[in-house]
Amino acid sequence: MTWVRQLLAIDRRIIFLLVGAGAALPLLFPLNLPVAVTPRVRAAYDAIDALPPGSKVLLSMDYEPDIMAELFPMSVAVLGHCFRKHVQVIAMTLYPAGTGLGERAISTAAKAEGAILNRDYAWLGYKSGFQVVMIGIGENLRGMYPVDFYGTPLDSIPVTRHVNSYAQLQMVINLSGSSAADYWIQFAQGRYHAPLVIGCTAVMATDYYPYLSSKQLLGLIGGMKGAAEYERLIDTFGDARRGMDAQSLVHLIVVGLVIVGNAALFISKRSGGDGGGPASGSMTR
């Protein structure tokens, strides 16, 4: 079966072109397919939604621009929800290059919901050292952050005036693309028993299901899809929802490639071929 052999030995650049077109075309010609909300994202939403107005949450946006595609829209959506519910947010980051992103996420959400600095939220900025900061907040927030990002002492900021540790916070929300999430579970939740919600990259998401079952996490927002679900829950249309058509199409293409690859191999084997020769197993061809 020569055509099967040819198919299996197809130039990888044709596959790349397919994937590239799959990502670009739905952005140019959107279908606005519906985004279904999954239970874990709803659980995160419900946990935040159940906080009474005036509650205080600590939001740590622990990511840098390389993975902002997944976590930045999530940050804007979660912040928007908090502001809409009049939940006061004390925001920070454990990544130096997350400072600009965190500030941008806050200002975007604050502008949309009419939230005001120091009255509705405080921006503490960056502090280095994962465990140091997490333990430090548990003992004395002012030891870690004597002043906010703009140099204002925490005692002069209404949102932070009466907050000195996790005990005065109703929830900790961590949006992270790294092991920072594990440390928030170990320290903020495990050691200081703070209610915790995590948003993470899709790569990490499946690893946190055991912590949902054990109630160490109240909710989980995974990747750009999770962010799109959250955008739908708060009824906004951000970058995450805009990207979902492309996400669907590229997934379809990848699944199609897997099925075609396996079918071609099957046909090739039945007709006594060797399964496509060098093509099988090589991904860099």
């Binding site: 590239g20 997944e70 130096p96 280095s128 170990q186 495990g190 055991p210 990747g223 750009m224 805009r242």
Partner: protein, 204 residues
């Protein structure tokens, strides 16, 4: 359209050019990335770790205790020379010791006890009991697979075999989510090129 957007778009295309074939543009971007990433990391460490934790306490607050981490850090640099390995060993010993000590209570509390406690709770009522039982079977059989101190034979072997099936489903789920993550990053880059650079998409 700013200079920043043009440079970012150029570098984005340099990296994507690798998809056609390895070429000098990609190699330029690759080498720039390595240098820029290392330089940024060093600058951040200087500004956010060495200045607040060494420089300021030592020169402004006269806290001599910071000489200890400073000495340990400088000893680490001795590793750059072949004969300095013995000196650097002290810094390594301190660092590894601290993180070993941190790992014990952290993992015990959050990963071992909390997960075992959840695994040992009563089954959910009704049909949920089937799922609870499956989770328990999955946990025990995967642990059986990871237990290499005895050969995988007999009941242990059968259990380990079932454990592999659970692992494969979990890895399949992870693979699906990994594809999702990488595709999301690609979409964001395409959004950048089409919207911020070429302006063929409406703004956010």
């Amino acid at each position: 359209m700013t200079l920043q957007t043009w440079i970012a778009a150029f570098l984005t295309l340099c990296v994507f050019s690798f998809l056609y074939k390895d070429n000098p543009f990609y190699r330029f971007a690759e080498h720039l990335f390595v240098g820029a990433a290392a330089g940024y990391l060093l600058a951040v460490q200087w500004q956010n770790v060495l200045i607040p934790n060494v420089w300021t306490p030592l020169l402004h607050d006269h806290k001599l205790v910071v000489l200890i981490p400073l000495a340990l850090g400088l000893m680490m640099l001795a590793r750059a020379w072949d004969k300095g390995a013995g000196i650097a060993r002290w810094s390594l010993a301190f660092y590894v010791g601290i993180y070993s000590g941190v790992a014990i209570p952290g993992y015990m509390q959050a990963q071992i006890f909390a997960q075992l406690a959840d695994a040992a709770k009563p089954f959910a009522p009704g049909w949920g009991a089937v799922n609870s039982a499956l989770v328990l079977v999955g946990l025990l059989t995967v642990l059986a697979y990871f237990f290499f101190s005895a050969p995988h034979k007999g009941v242990h072997g059968a259990g380990a075999r079932v454990g592999i099936y659970f692992l494969m489903v979990a890895f399949g789920a992870s693979f699906g989510y990994t594809v999702m993550a990488r595709v999301s990053l690609l979409i964001a880059r395409v959004q950048f090129l089409l919207r911020d650079w070429l302006h063929v998409l409406p703004g956010p």
